[in-house]
Symmetry: C2
DNA sequence: ATTGAAACAACTTGCAG
DNA sequence: CTGCAAGTTGTTTCAAT
């Protein structure tokens, strides 16, 4: 939120950028690279974590190597009285990765992954389609995907 | 891809799960937690990185605290002869975070973030809309968003 | 907030079994 | 894969600025 928006200086942004690119590099190495005192980098990172600007340290996993070879977006329309329970139901489906409540033609846009087209079809028609309150779905199978990190 | 799909055992998956949740925990601590010899955890992680199953160590940034308070999906239709240049053009827009080439009503689904509704409008109408080959766009402003990690 | 260094703690590698 | 030793490296603390 705007009111909670921390003032970040150039150094904070530089550190964020470096950690997004590679959070496994050690802080002494990082501080040498950006030519800033190690103690400062330590305390800046702690502050970024404390403020929640860094939400977590994690790894990016190649899900296709875990067998999830198909991904799709699904637009979902619901009975507006049942929006909340539909959201909960959708988030309970293991294949679902992201759900956005949106303006426009759909009520939700859902991103999900499946281990093949058959499983994708099954998830959409049997899992999403069967949730009470779901009135209509429209599927966009992703043939190719590119992503970028946050703009820092 | 299926042919390159590595065989991952329970231990590999457990390690991945732990690192997705928190990649800043040290390997000795992680190995104690899951009760596996430290040397084994070291070599498994190296193998996961070598195989590309772990794509990178990174941090998750709260972009709303960087001022990106508005996010949206945009469906894009293009002149099919100009698809490739449109893709390149869209990926060149700083606010764009993800682009998927999809089947169905749209040719692309684009996810982006902006620092306010005015900037969102500007990005869509002035940046995306002005790309040669873009014929139509449809905007879905995200009012609320939930995401989950990979299913491991 | 930053610096620099000391004291402390922890990680990483290599190897024999 | 195990367990450990040796070597290396990271982390905290603090007095001074």
């Amino acid at each position: 939120m705007d009111v909670n928006m921390a003032k970040l200086d150039e150094l904070d942004l530089k550190i964020l950028q470096e950690l997004v690119a590679d959070s496994s590099q050690s802080i002494p190495k990082l501080s040498k690279k950006i030519d800033v005192n190690t103690s400062v980098v330590y305390s800046r990172i702690k502050r970024l974590v404390r403020r929640g600007i860094i939400k977590r340290f994690t790894v990016e996993v190649d899900e296709s190597q875990l067998g999830y070879t198909v991904s799709a977006y699904v637009g979902v329309n619901t009975d507006s009285k049942k929006r909340d329970s539909v959201r909960t139901g959708i988030m309970g489906i293991p294949e679902v990765r992201e759900l956005a409540e949106v303006t426009g033609r759909f009520d939700f846009l859902v991103f999900l992954r499946a281990k093949g087209l058959e499983e994708l079809h099954n998830v959409i028609s049997q899992k999403i389609g069967m949730i009470d309150g779901v009135e209509h779905t429209e599927t966009f199978i992703s043939m190719r995907q590119e992503s970028k990190g946050p703009e820092i």
